[in-house]
C-alpha cells in the first residue's frame, strides 16, 4: 500500500510541475486595425465645434454640429453625447436664445427664464463627447473649469464642475481616454475677438504669438502623452472674410483722391452712403459725373492714419434705423466744397460761400431718399482699418504657421480650412458644391453662415464635417461616407417669403449675439 501512495504522491507532483495548459491561439475580430481609431471620438474646441450658430446654442444646432455629423457618418451618432439644450436655446446674452430670421428680418432670440430647466442630458455620469465651450480660447481649453469670473455660462453647462473634479476641457478629454480627438479651430478665439470688436491689439484682443504657441503645444502634448488618441485638427480661416466683417466690402466702396501732403495725392477706396439694396447713392444732379458721399468714421486716414477697409455687421441696423455714419450738412461742407471746385469748376471763394447752402440741400436730398443724416461717425469698434486688418492677418498667419508646423512635427493630420474657405469666398455667388459664403440676405438657400455672420449654418457645419472626413479617410485609410452638403441647405428659406431680398436687422440683435466673443480685456474696459 505504501508504495502505491508514494507512487501516487510522486505522480501528483510531476503533474503539478510539468502540466500546463497550452497558450491559447489569438482569435481575430472582423475589425480592420485602422478602424480602431474610431472606437471613441471626442471633440474639443469652442463655439463652432459645439454647434453654436446665430448667436446661441440649442439642440437643433448641436445635432448639426460638425462633430455630430461626423459621428453620424461613422455610424456612431447614438454614443456621441452632447450637452443638449432644449428650445429656445441659450444665447450669448443671458435670458435670450439664438437669433431668428422672420420675414426677411434678423431678430433677437426668444426669451427663457430658467437656463437649468433647458439642460437635457445633465446627468450623464461622464464628460460629454463634445466638450467644446463657446467662447473658449486656448488658455481656457487648458485651464478654465467653470464660469466664475468670465461671465460665460457655457463653461458650467459643458464642464459641470465641481462634479468632475474642476477639470478643464482638455482634462475631461483625457479622462474619457478617446481614440480620436477632433480639435476644431485651435486658437480661433485667440484672434476672432479682434475682428468682432473692430479692435486689433496684440496682447489685448489678440493673443501674443509666443503664448499661442506654448498653449497649442501644451494641448497637443497633453493629449498625446496622456492618451493613445489620434488627433485631427484644423487651422483658422481668415476671420476678416466672414460676412460679419465683409458684408459691405463688395458694394459700397468708391475711389477717392486724397491729398496726403502738399502735392501728394493718393487714391483710396472709401465706404459711401448707400441705399436699401446696398448700392452706393450717386448724388450728382448734373448727370455728367458722380457724387458719392463718404460715410463718417472715427477711424480713417485722417484720424488714425489708415483707411477703413471693413465695416462690421452691427453697423447695418444702426445705419438703417439711426443713420449712423451718414453726414449731416455741417459734415458735408468740405465734400461739397471740393466738388464745387474740382468738378463744377468754381473758384475757392465762391465755392466757400456757396458750399454750406449746397451742403444743406444735399442733406435734404438724403432725407428725401429715406436716409437719416445723423452726423455721428461710425465708432472704431464697428470698423476695421487697413492696419487693423493687417494686424489680424499677420497674427492669424502666424498662428496658422504654428499649427502647420506642429501638425507636421507631431504627426497630427491637418484640415486646411484656411485654404478651403478662401476658395469658397473667391467663388462668390457661384459657390462650390451647392454652398456659398454669402450672407443670408444674399443667399438664404445655401449660405454656410448663420445669422450672426460668422458662425456656420447647418450647411456650413456639413461643409466642415466633409473636410474633416476627407482628412480622416486619407490619414487612416478609412472610407467614412461624406455628408451631402445639399442635405443641409435651405435653412433660412422660410425667413424670406416670396424669395430672396436683402433684409434688415433689428437694432441690438447682432450685438446681443456676439457678446460672448468679445475678449474679456475689452469687456473690462
Amino acid at each position: 500500500m505504501k508504495k502505491w501512495i508514494t507512487l501516487f504522491a510522486l505522480a501528483s507532483l510531476f503533474i503539478i510541475l510539468a502540466c500546463e495548459p497550452n497558450d491559447p491561439t489569438q482569435p481575430k475580430l472582423n475589425i480592420q486595425p485602422n478602424q480602431l481609431v474610431l472606437n471613441k471620438v471626442v471633440a474639443i474646441g469652442a463655439s463652432i465645434t459645439s454647434g453654436f450658430q446665430s448667436g446661441g446654442l440649442v439642440e437643433d444646432f448641436q445635432m448639426n454640429s460638425f462633430p455630430y455629423i461626423i459621428a453620424r457618418q461613422m455610424g456612431k451618432a447614438e454614443e456621441f453625447e452632447m450637452p443638449l439644450i432644449a428650445a429656445p436655446g441659450i444665447g450669448s446674452t443671458p435670458g435670450l436664445g439664438p437669433l431668428k430670421f422672420e420675414n426677411g428680418q434678423i431678430l433677437p432670440g426668444d426669451p427663457y427664464t430658467d437656463p437649468l430647466a433647458l439642460l437635457k442630458n445633465l446627468n450623464l455620469p461622464r464628460p460629454y463627447d463634445d466638450i467644446a465651450v463657446p467662447g473658449a480660447d486656448l488658455n481656457d481649453l487648458l485651464n478654465t473649469a467653470d464660469s466664475t469670473g468670465n461671465g460665460n455660462p457655457f463653461f458650467n453647462i459643458v464642464l459641470r464642475n465641481p462634479n468632475f473634479g474642476n477639470t478643464s476641457i482638455v482634462e475631461q478629454a483625457v479622462a474619457l481616454q478617446p481614440s480620436l480627438v477632433l480639435f476644431g479651430f485651435p486658437g480661433g478665439n485667440d484672434v476672432l475677438g479682434a475682428a468682432l470688436t473692430g479692435t486689433a491689439i496684440v496682447g489685448v484682443t489678440i493673443t501674443p504669438q509666443a503664448d499661442f504657441d506654448s498653449r497649442l503645444e501644451s494641448v497637443l502634448n497633453t493629449l498625446q502623452t496622456k492618451t493613445h488618441a489620434q488627433i485631427v485638427m484644423s487651422n483658422i480661416p481668415d476671420v476678416t472674410t466672414v460676412p460679419y466683417v465683409n458684408i459691405l466690402d463688395n458694394f459700397i466702396y468708391k475711389p477717392f483722391d486724397i491729398t496726403v501732403a502738399p502735392g501728394v495725392t493718393i487714391t483710396v477706396d472709401l465706404p459711401v452712403v448707400f441705399d436699401a439694396n446696398f448700392q452706393p447713392v450717386n448724388f450728382d444732379t448734373t448727370g455728367q459725373t458722380q457724387l458719392y458721399i463718404p460715410l463718417l468714421t472715427e477711424e480713417g486716414l485722417a484720424t488714425t492714419g489708415s483707411p477703413v477697409k471693413h465695416i462690421l455687421l452691427p453697423f447695418l441696423s444702426e445705419y438703417q434705423t439711426n443713420g449712423l455714419g451718414v453726414p449731416d450738412s455741417a459734415a458735408l461742407v468740405p465734400l461739397v466744397f471740393d466738388y464745387l471746385v474740382n468738378v463744377v469748376g468754381l473758384d475757392s471763394m465762391t465755392a466757400q460761400l456757396v458750399a454750406p447752402a449746397q451742403a444743406h440741400s444735399l442733406e435734404q436730398g438724403m432725407i428725401d431718399a429715406g436716409l437719416t443724416p445723423s452726423g455721428i461717425p461710425i465708432p472704431g469698434s464697428l470698423t476695421l482699418t487697413e492696419d487693423e486688418t493687417n494686424t489680424i492677418q499677420t497674427s492669424l498667419n502666424g498662428f496658422n504657421a504654428s499649427i502647420a508646423n506642429m501638425a507636421q512635427t507631431k504627426g497630427v493630420p491637418l484640415v486646411d480650412l484656411f485654404s478651403k474657405f478662401n476658395d469658397l469666398v473667391a467663388a462668390g455667388s457661384a459657390g462650390m458644391d451647392g454652398v456659398t459664403a454669402l450672407f443670408v440676405f444674399f443667399d438664404p438657400a445655401s449660405t454656410i453662415f448663420s445669422l450672426d455672420g460668422f458662425h456656420p449654418s447647418n450647411a456650413g457645419q456639413a461643409f466642415l464635417a466633409r473636410e474633416y472626413i476627407r482628412v480622416i479617410n486619407a490619414a487612416f485609410g478609412l472610407s467614412i461616407p461624406e455628408p451631402t452638403l445639399t442635405d443641409y441647405t435651405g435653412q433660412y428659406l422660410s425667413g424670406v417669403p416670396g424669395g430672396k431680398k436683402i433684409g434688415t436687422i433689428q437694432p441690438g440683435a447682432i450685438e446681443q449675439a456676439i457678446r460672448l466673443f468679445v475678449p474679456r480685456q475689452v469687456m473690462a474696459q
Binding site: 500500500m1 497558450d23 472582423n30 486595425p33 455620469p125 482634462e171 479622462a175
Partner: protein, 426 residues
Amino acid sequence: MSKFTLTLVASFLWASLAIGAGFNIGEFGGRSAAMGNAVIAQAYDASTIFYNPAGLGFLQGTHFYGGVTGIYAQAKFVGAAPVLPNTVYNAKKQFFPPVGIYFSHQFTEKFAAGIGVTNPFGLGLEWGDDFPGRAISKNVDLKSFYISPVIAYQISPNFSLGVGVDVVLTTVTLQRNVIVFNTEGVPGTGTEVGDVVLDGNGDPAIGFSAGLMYHSDRVGVGVSYRHSVSPEFKDADANFTIFSNTDPKIAAVASQLLTDQKGGAKMDFPGILAAGIYYKFTEKFGAEVSYAYYNWSVFDKINLTFDNPDLNQTIPENYDNSSQVRIGTHYEVTENFSIRAGYIWDETPQPIESVSPLLPDDTRNDYSIGFGYKAGKITIDAGYMFVDIGERTTIENGVGKNDNGFNGTYNSRADIFLLSFGYAFK
C-alpha cells in the same frame, strides 16, 4: 463484496475551473471522483449522503468518511486582435485544498441517518495586476458549504428512500479595478482610479435533497434530486482603494464616490436531478452510467448592491440548463485492493456572452483514475482527475460576443488529487 468497502474522499473543492461545469463541484470522494462521480446508483460509503441520500438506507453501521483534496487550477487568456495585443496572460496558479466529512449511522434495520459537509459550488480565479480584464474581475473567491443532515428509510431490502435538508453557507470575495468616466460598451475608455473588494458572508439558505435507490445482486438504479438555493449576502464590506498614480483631480472625484461602505450580492445555485444505472458484470468488475441535469437557468444574473446605489451593478449571466454524463468503472484486483477509472462529459451552462475573467467555462472532458485499499475497518482511497476544459473563445464568426466587450480566448485545466480515509465503526 461489502457495500461499504470503499470510501470516498469528500473533497471540498473550491475551484470551479476544475470541478464541474459552471461552478459546480462534483467530486466529493476519492472513489467517486475516481469513478467520474458515477455513483448515483451505488452506496459505498458515507459520501452517498451527497450523491444520493437514499444510499444511506443500504449503509449498515456507523461510518466516518473524510479526506483531503487538492485542486490545482490553471488558466490562460489572450485578447482578440486587433483590439488587444497577442500577449498571453496567466491566471495565478492556485491550489485549493478543501476538506469534507461525512458521518452516518444506522439506527434500526430500516432506518439510517447521517450528516455531511460538502461544497458543491465554488469558484476561485485570480489574475495579475496587468491583466487587461482587471476592471471586470481581478480576483474572485466563492465558497459554499452545504451542511446536509439526511435520513434514509429502507422500504424493502432492495429499495431505499432518502431525504435531506441542506443548510447552505456561502462566502464570497470579489475584487476588480474601478474605472470612472468610461463609455458603456467601449472597452479601453475612461480612467482607471483604483479597485474595490467586496467581501461577504451569505445568509444561511435552506435547500433539500431526496433520492431513491434500488439494488439487487448485479443491478443498481438510483435517482437523486437536490433543490436549488439562492444565497444572499446582505452585509458585505465594500472597500475601495484609490491608486496613488491617479490624476489628482480625478482621484478627488473618485474618493468622493468610492467610499468604503456596505454592499450586498445575490446569486442562484441550480438544482441537480441525476439518475444512474449500475451493473456488476463480474464479481470483480462493475460499471455505472449516470446522467445529471442541472437547471442552471436560475443563474441569470449576479446582483451587486451598495449603500450608494450609483455603484449598483447587475452582471448578466443567463446560464442555460445543462447535462452531465458520467461513466465509472471499478475492478477488484483483490479483496482488499481495487482500481477505478471514469469519464465525465460535462456540458457548460455558460453562454458565450458570459465567458469572462470571472469564470471562463467550457464543456469539459474529465478523465479519472484511482485505487483503493481496505483493511478491516479502515479504507484508504486515492484518485486523480484531469479536467480538460480547453479553449473557450468569446468570438463567433469574427464578432465578439462578450457582454462587456472584453473578447479573447481562454484555455484552462485543472488537476485534482484526492486522498481519503474512511472508518467503519461497526
